[in-house]
Symmetry: C2
Subunit: 718 residues, 2 copies
């Protein structure tokens, strides 16, 4: 059951929810708000109850002064799931999460917010009572979720203001079980994006100046070394002066020919980046068109707002304006026409490096100090503060405006849906330009609702074991809000990777729908063919392709059925108390559990099995050992070149022979791992068109008395 409360008048319909719910009540400031379990009050959002927020250093991330706050008592052992991309554990208890999308590449444990905001959470009571609570705060402004941070026994939700929608869910069956609630939530926010099948291949990316020759060299060296590859990504240097929808013809004299050659010769796609900012440039067609039509965000006085990003001072398209969205989306055609079939949308929190005002302030600060013989510590503090101050992005979000239905809305009040609407601009355009073809699309910033138009990557992580551990813990939250198409920068974006970290990271990423190796400039090159044990690395990437019949099938079915592609163990084994604490294992689809090794120099790990399972320890698709492991805890060896997969009894795990690209996969001849008799619905389609509901796409594989069968497939039992 879903109960929707409206507070005040939301400044905009976020369109996170597409199946409209009736309002059970509408509350205004001053009303006595009664929501079971919660106490509600309008507070001065600048202060926590104990006046502590200022002291906690989050003053730049405050909601509007007057805001509703909802408080729920937590008890020992209660767990909190959700909050999408947020950091920390699968159980979110013990931290403050701020919904305030930000470009911040240092994802340490100190941080309160990342690139996306996903205000959906479920409180699961430890006593198994009827007290589970699920909340979706549909509020595009700066909200706070204090999950036992200020007071370890309180969940304190602070909305951005007095105007938003608040949903409570109990599941369609009213069971209040987390999975049931999640599926009910997903049923009202619309179907998750389904990528082209090749978009679930492996991709190589790097923030570097690559030319046509470099790209061809990467493609060649991958295949020469027997390592599969489906995508090569282009970061910002492919453009002319970082202008969206331009191609530097010095580096890429004939992009169409390059895309054609790559696709035809090796089944490889080129995937360029699109940034949110449009360069301020007199005479530039895009900039002038945007200005002429009022498509850019403005200052309070209605003149265009500019902030600097990679292209220098830039305009920010007002993606909340449907006309502007349409206009921006149409520009993707420029690249689609050159054989491009996928994109990644970046810098769309939006990231702002500085404005004329903040850099001028830094210059003035320095000028005031001037040249002298001896400097003081105060001089130094002033210079460094002015420099660092430019990067505090939140200060800019009060300074510009959107125009929706003729009404000017301050960006801060709708901040968290900006990236979502950039990606929506692309998604809506693709629907018009090529309605029958899937285009690869994922974004850095997001909000609930964006999952209908594309996926995300988990942003600018680092070459840290901690970040490999983190992305595993992010999966339940992301899957709950429909952002199932996601993946991390495998090997780590910043910092220098090591061969063992890359290997272990690959061993997890072969299970994430988005599977990309990406790194920033001035770091160790991490194209896979540059490492030492190429055979093992090739075998691991090969496993992704071997597993793809299953992974793709599970992904599409989860999207079509509002299910989760990856689940925490506790969502499946709902009554197993031990399963609830497992934060480094995941259920992938209906058949398998994965247990990645995520500690340096570990040659094995402790694994928890909620039930007896069949373990298959793969070194390659053809080199594996297997044994039945009883329920409970086990320390299991898992060498650097090994990947463990645990198959549930009565379930099947269909696999193919590895290939160098998705296009080259033979999905008629499958090897099916079984654990006892069972049956499996295999989803197969052409990977490109959109008639997902066609019943011919589903094939039933059956294992009966040790014999496997399915119409039209050639199956071998393993």
């Amino acid at each position: 059951m879903i109960t929707k409360y409206r507070f005040g008048t939301p400044v905009i319909d976020t369109e996170a929810v597409v199946v409209r719910q009736p309002e059970a009540a509408v509350f205004q400031k001053g009303d006595d708000v009664s929501i079971p379990g919660f106490s509600a009050a309008v507070v001065d959002a600048n202060l926590q109850t104990d006046g502590s927020v200022r002291r906690f250093g989050v003053t730049k991330q405050l909601p509007r002064k007057d805001a509703w706050q909802f408080t729920l008592e937590l008890h020992d052992g209660d767990r909190v799931y959700g909050l999408g991309e947020a950091q920390r554990g699968m159980n979110k208890r013990g931290w403050l999460y701020i919904s305030n999308n930000v470009d911040d590449m240092y994802h340490t444990e100190s941080k309160y917010n990342l690139y996306g905001s996903h205000n959906f959470l479920i409180v699961e009571r430890a006593d198994g009572s009827d007290g589970n609570v699920a909340v979706f705060l549909d509020d595009p402004g700066v909200c706070r979720f204090d999950v036992g941070y200020t007071d370890k026994d309180k969940l304190i939700i602070t909305a951005s203001s007095l105007n938003f929608d608040l949903y409570f869910l109990t599941g369609a069956d009213n069971s209040k079980k987390p999975l049931s609630i999640t599926r009910e939530f997903r049923s009202i926010i619309g179907q998750s994006y389904i990528p082209p099948k090749w978009g679930m291949g492996y991709g190589q990316s790097r923030f570097d100046y690559f030319t046509d020759a470099d790209i061809r060299e990467i493609a060649r060296r991958y295949h020469e070394n027997g390592i599969p590859l489906d995508m090569i990504y282009l970061d910002i240097d492919y453009m002319v002066h970082y202008k969206d929808f331009t191609v530097n013809t010095d580096a890429f004299p004939d992009l169409t020919r390059l895309t054609t050659d790559l696709r035809e010769q090796q089944g490889i796609r080129l995937v360029p980046i699109i940034d949110a900012g449009i360069k301020v440039l007199e005479g530039d067609e895009t900039a002038e068109e945007g200005i002429a039509n009022g498509y850019f965000c403005t200052k309070e006085d209605g003149t265009p707002f500019t902030g600097a990003v990679w292209p220098g001072l830039s305009y920010f398209t007002d993606y909340l304006n449907p006309d502007a969205r349409k206009w921006f989306g149409r520009h993707y055609q420029f690249l689609l026409d050159q054989g491009i079939e996928g994109f990644w949308n970046d810098m769309n929190e939006p990231s702002i490096f500085f404005t004329n005002e903040t850099i001028r302030r830094a210059v003035e600060t320095a000028e005031k100090i001037g040249i002298k013989d001896n400097y003081t510590i105060e001089d130094w503090q002033a210079v460094t503060a002015a420099s660092a101050g430019m990067g505090e992005q939140m200060q800019y979000y009060d300074q510009f405006y959107h125009t929706v239905n003729g009404r000017r809305i301050c960006h801060k009040d709708v901040h968290n849906i900006y990236g979502y609407n950039m990606t929506r601009a692309a998604g809506e355009a693709f629907e018009e330009i090529c309605p029958d073809k899937r285009i690869l699309m994922f974004s850095r910033s997001s909000y609930i609702g964006m999952h209908r138009y594309g996926g995300i990557w988990t942003g600018d992580n680092a070459s840290w074991w901690a970040h490999l551990q983190q992305v595993i813990k992010q999966q339940p939250g992301l899957n709950m809000v429909g952002l199932m198409f996601n993946g991390s920068d495998t090997g780590g974006f910043s910092g220098n990777t090591t061969e063992d970290l890359m290997t272990r990271w690959l061993e997890f990423s072969i299970f994430t729908p988005l599977f990309r190796n990406h790194a920033t400039e001035n770091t160790r090159l991490q194209q896979l063919y540059l490492f030492k044990d190429l055979k093992s690395i090739g075998n691991i990437v090969g496993l992704r392709y071997a597993f793809l019949p299953y992974l793709y099938s599970e992904y599409v079915k989860a999207a079509l059925n509002n299910d989760m592609y990856m689940k925490p163990l506790s969502f499946v084994y709902e009554d197993d108390p031990a399963a609830k604490e497992i934060e480094d294992q995941l259920m992938v689809g209906e058949s398998i559990m994965i247990t990645p090794v995520v500690n340096q120099n570990a040659s094995g790990r402790n694994v928890y099995l909620p039930e007896e399972m069949r373990m298959i320890r793969f070194r390659s698709a053809e080199d594996y050992d297997t044994e039945v492991v009883p329920a409970g805890w086990h320390y299991l060896p898992c060498k650097l070149n090994e990947v463990m997969v645990f198959l549930r009894r009565g379930h099947l795990f269909p696999t193919a022979a590895p290939a160098l690209s998705v296009a080259a996969l033979d999905e008629q001849n499958l090897k099916v791992y079984a654990f006892g008799d069972g049956s499996y619905q295999l989803y197969q389609d052409d990977g490109v068109s959109k008639d997902f509901a066609n019943p011919e796409h589903l094939k039933t594989i059956k294992v009966t008395d040790g014999t496997v069968s399915a119409d039209g497939l050639n199956l071998t039992l393993r």
Copy 2:
């Protein structure tokens, strides 16, 4: 056996080694160097074999251009122990470690160097062959230890230059076992510092402006809440303008009275900070004395070098000059005379925030850009680079000089022994001022040798679970080089802690010899009485005091016997392959193993027992449950308020009743935990004087047929 090779002419005797070893050979550039297992060559240290170092972003941390490089082949499963304070695992394999002491408070996995340099490591071969190798590179300059980072199968040691000593060790018994090698190494570097016993109590610290009244309030509130406390630390704000050896009398009108009151009323000591820099200030006695006598580091031209730290532009005492060391050390008397009995030496890498040159460059950069209508991305890059550039401390280490025996030595060539010699200055002074009394002393920066004069804290960590995990992994390395008196900023220095993190961190820190809660300004206050579950927190700190008879005894015995106070399991269970991979458990002294819970929201953990042990799960000294746990892996519950201790068969674990201070502990009446019959040598002394060798300090406790006995102690068996 110890083999010492000399290369060239070391620029200085570091005095890390105090039991001089004969030179087996002296090598000059051009010599054919034959060291078993290693290949040796003089290389251009600006480049790795594959030219990769520049690309890896460590160009600012290069040795001198001409340097000896030693390469050893590693095989699958070989482990590398050591490198003291260095980050990452107990097994150091898979990273690049640079010996280049630095003040860097962001200890992420990307970092190559921390505050101390400890160039001692042991390679343990996986095949159990005779091929174990132990190396001590006695080189105070910038060295690199590439432990399977560039090439996963190579250990590449790059010295700072052509001039240093290189030691190889096989253990006194020639067994090549890691513990035997470690003890042999310790036997030549001198006995570890032993603190006053009260220095192993619990201490509260914070970087904040505290006054006399604040200090008294902290003392009062601790004891009012039944939480023990032995020390309150003073950070830099107690001084006048951050000038060493001054006291701000506005905040502390009568320091002697305060120290007297605290000690007499509650047994609490005040422990002030001493920074490395001396404020440049005309008319200031300390500054002018130092200048007049040539006690400060100079520029190449012999005039004093200045760099800015907290006091603003400062001089840096030339601690390598014995006269300067003596002069600086004498100043501690000013505080000793006011009842102070302990200090912490900080900023002694040395930290340098800026120099007149670098801040002027930042100002000039801004001035050149000037005020204009529109700024470019290049303007922004220039401003931010100039600001960030001030903080790149390594650039300063080429710019100043020491004068040793009339010879001018560039700081870079002796950089890593600077903090060591500041602490030596203090230690040598204490020996003169109060030869019969122990003074508490620990430092941020260190080098091997400093362990004779004091301990360290592990620097400016953060309120991250990752940093709780890290300090556990640092223990083997630190104990190997004698820095057994160490501890971390419990709860975390930067960022905001949470009650659960603080609780779990306390549960580990009760076992580290230095046990301090410290945090920086503008973070959540983390005095323990401010948390919610005060009863549990008080009980946990109480356990430290209950365990102190054992912990102190083990500490002193380890120091006297060149043993390790904390050991990795593999140093004790040398033939247990599973024990070798355990990186989150430690042996503490001879009797117990600890297994801290270090993951948020975990209510238990997997524990590996190399042998059957008796587990005692403490909620307080009087509230515990106990059971015998068989050898092998076990998942064991351990709630937030619980601490597990594992007692080895045949060993004893003597404990006292908790008290509010070390002085108040009753160590005549002990509760002795036993697992079967056994005996234990309990070291007890007055905790202050230095006649450690007095045989009366050792009392033998025996448990025979279930009865416990020891002369002069009242014992209860548990």
